[in-house]
């Protein structure tokens, strides 16, 4: 156990270092329009992701459950999903490339933050041994990754709108940034909603109730409704541009409160094991 823990800690720090190098190279490459350095940053990020995968797999085998029980596991796997989703979506939508400027630092910050939590082994309660739990948590992680991408486009939009010069000139046109933010918000909304539904199926199977107005459940529903309002506003009220970006950033903040704030601050079934 001790050697596994040491290996896990060392592996995680190694990943943090590689992600930091990726971030530095990426930001330098983008800011100074140096494609060679930018390409190197992707190699760093890819290697970091591979190493990160190994570290998560090692810990999974050691503790006997997926990375969703202890805070360090949750944050580490969130960082992994953001990085993995970025690369997956990059294949599908090459124009999201500049999102790396937010995705890379978000990943290393989350992983570094995870290192400050006690990496002790958490027991997986019997109720958690359900495939629906994995689906529920997995979908929320993907939702977070897509919302990070959407948020990056919203921020890019606001920056470019304010002053279109320097590295911002390399970003796509304003309307393209706006539509990408909209589309990834739609993906995020769908993953979030399906994640919530999967959670209620699991709750029904385990506890005989599919909804209990638990604080985390309530906040997840508030987030879902706020993204619903955002999509409604965009579709039917022609909300776009600056106001849409700010509205989305507000929704994104609410989603962070649901995912992390409620899990650490409030006494709910969802926070019991996260604390």
């Amino acid at each position: 156990m001790k050697s596994s823990l040491e290996l896990f800690m060392a592996g995680n720090w190694a990943v943090v270092i590689v992600y930091v190098l990726a971030t530095i190279a990426n930001v330098s490459g983008v800011l100074f329009s140096n494609e060679r350095i930018e390409r190197i940053s992707y190699r760093f990020a890819g290697s970091g992701l591979a190493l990160h995968t190994g570290v998560i797999a090692l810990w999974w085998v050691e503790v006997g459950h997926g990375p969703y029980m202890a805070p360090n596991e949750v944050l580490s796997s969130d960082a992994w999903v953001i990085m993995a989703c970025y690369f997956a979506f990059l294949k599908l939508y090459p124009r999201i490339k500049p999102v790396s400027i937010l995705a890379f630092p978000a990943s290393f910050l989350m992983l570094a933050l995870s290192m400050f939590y006690n990496p002790g082994i958490r027991t997986l309660p019997a109720t958690f041994r359900s495939i629906w739990l994995i689906i529920h948590i997995g979908l929320y992680k993907i939702a977070l990754a897509t919302l990070v991408i959407s948020c990056a486009f919203a921020i890019f939009y606001l920056l470019k709108k304010r002053k279109d010069s320097g590295w911002l000139l390399r970003l796509p046109a304003l309307e393209v940034l706006d539509i990408y933010s909209y589309r990834f918000a739609g993906f995020g909304f769908i993953f979030w909603t399906i994640g919530m539904l999967a959670g209620s199926i699991w709750a029904h199977q385990s506890w005989g109730r599919f909804w209990g107005w638990d604080p985390t459940e309530t906040w997840a529903l508030i987030t879902c409704l706020m993204f619903g309002a955002y999509l409604h506003l965009r579709r039917f009220f022609r909300l776009q541009g600056t106001r849409a970006s700010w509205f989305f950033i507000a929704c994104f903040f609410i989603s962070l409160v649901s995912l992390f704030g409620m899990a650490t601050l409030n006494g709910s079934i969802h926070s019991e094991y996260f604390k």
Binding site: T123, A126, S130, I190, I201, W211, I222, A229, F236, F237
Partner: protein, 439 residues
């Protein structure tokens, strides 16, 4: 009727309802709700927020989810969703059969119908009937028109079935110790039922025969099951085994094994004046040799709280059949007054009391549920998922061709949503048709 329809489907009302419900849910996280908070917590909150009590009590914000005005908002949202669903079906059909080109400019000219069909087919555009020989319409992902319809339909099913479950569902909870029998009429430890339902009644007695906890190689509970026997009024007994995540069905009821289970400790308290108090306290299962199970209990004969923790084995050797170690503390709020460590058969001093651990048995919590409508809720979930995926991942793209007098076709391209994502597709179609025309 039309005015009502217009009012209820107004976009501003839909948006207003979404924001109102989100806002009220936010309020429900600020004002402690009766069903999820302890009486002490509620009292403390009320003491700290006296200035807000007129508002909280006036609207009964402490029981928000069962208030008529909250139900009215949900019903209004449901009515809007139902009508909008029909509107969405009509809109989807309209889009499916529309051959208008809107404000789009023609992207290219096609030399022949055959060339156009060939290019459309190669890009997975399906030919749709237009009712006119001079117009051709090809659509990629025509089912995408129905994404919104499915999203709305799914929500209608989920909301209406949830309301049905809320008003007709009922359940009872039993916290039982091995060997215990609950008779008729059955006294639940906790019972809940909707406003159109009566309290749940079991047709007989319930006995908890055995609780089994299996541990994995690292001494963590891996599987929990309880053997239960229910004997009905005619004396017919039926035994079954309920496990966590394995639901048992008994005469239309669903029986769940809750995540609460563990060891129940029989304690005898005696004071200097010869008074004896017997307590049986169920403490949550410990989850490893070095991990304790915890539980706090109010004592009817003492103003203090009995706080407990136990280890499965005082020697930390094995999880089952060992010698459990129970640590009891008397607390005055959070201040510890006294503490004693006990093993079976032994006693210790706890403040003014001598406390003896008489024995240890297993306990478990079972939930009996009687609800209908879950199948509709899950069907709604499925439809929402399909609708969402269709709406956001496969927006329809249209090719509309209008025949000119010279027999050539003027071709228009349009995406139902996220046009900027599919410009490459449009450009590739344009290039191919241009190549066809040139050859």
């Amino acid at each position: 009727m039309n005015i009502f329809r217009k009012l209820i489907t107004a976009r501003r009302l839909s948006l207003g309802l979404i924001l109102f419900l989100a806002g009220m849910m936010y309020v429900s996280t600020l004002v402690p709700q009766e069903m999820g908070s302890s009486p002490e917590g509620i009292a403390e909150w009320r003491h700290k927020h006296e200035a807000l009590l007129w508002l909280v009590d006036g609207f009964k914000l402490y029981r928000m989810y069962v208030q008529p005005w909250f139900a009215a908002a949900i019903l209004l949202a449901l009515a809007a969703l139902v009508i909008t669903t029909f509107d969405q079906i009509a809109a989807a059909r309209r889009k499916l059969y529309s051959t208008g080109c809107g404000v789009e400019d023609p992207v290219v000219e096609a030399s022949s119908e055959q060339a156009l069909r060939s290019v459309a087919r190669s890009r997975w555009y399906l030919s749709l009937h237009t009712g006119s020989q001079d117009k051709l319409k090809f659509v990629r992902n025509p089912w995408g028109y129905f994404g919104n319809t499915l999203l709305h339909l799914g929500m209608v099913l989920v909301v209406s079935a949830s309301l049905y479950v809320a008003v007709t569902g009922r359940q009872g909870v039993l916290i039982m110790i091995e060997g215990e029998t609950r008779g008729t009429p059955l006294h639940w430890d906790l019972s809940e039922y909707g406003i159109l339902a009566s309290p749940l009644v079991l047709p007989g007695t319930v006995r908890l025969d055995k609780v089994r906890v299996n541990f994995d190689g690292k001494n963590r509970p891996a599987a929990v099951s309880s053997d239960v026997t229910i004997t009905d009024g005619s004396g017919s007994a039926e035994s079954f085994s309920a496990s966590i995540n394995k639901i048992i069905r008994y005469r239309g009821l669903r029986v769940y094994h809750a995540a609460q289970y563990g060891d129940a400790f029989s304690l005898e308290f005696s004071d200097g004046e010869g008074r004896r108090h017997l307590e049986k306290i169920p403490v949550q299962q410990s989850t490893g040799l070095d991990n304790a199970g915890y539980g706090d209990f109010d004592l009817t004969w003492s103003p203090h709280v009995l706080s407990t923790k136990y280890y499965a084995d005082a020697d930390r050797k094995k999880m089952t059949g060992g010698k459990p170690q129970l640590v009891v503390r008397l607390l005055d709020k959070s201040r510890e007054l006294a503490r004693a460590s006990l093993t079976p058969g032994n006693s210790g001093i706890l403040g003014n009391y001598r406390v003896r651990l008489l024995g240890v048995e297993k306990w478990a919590k079972l939930i009996f549920v009687d609800i209908g409508g879950m199948a509709v809720i899950f069907a709604g979930f499925g439809i929402i998922m399909i609708g969402g995926v269709v709406q956001y991942t496969v927006p329809p793209r249209e090719l509309i061709a209008i025949r000119q007098q010279d027999g050539r076709y003027l071709v228009y391209w349009r995406a139902a949503a996220f046009k900027e994502f599919y410009m490459d597709e449009r450009d590739s179609i344009t290039r191919e048709l241009q190549k066809e025309a040139a050859s």
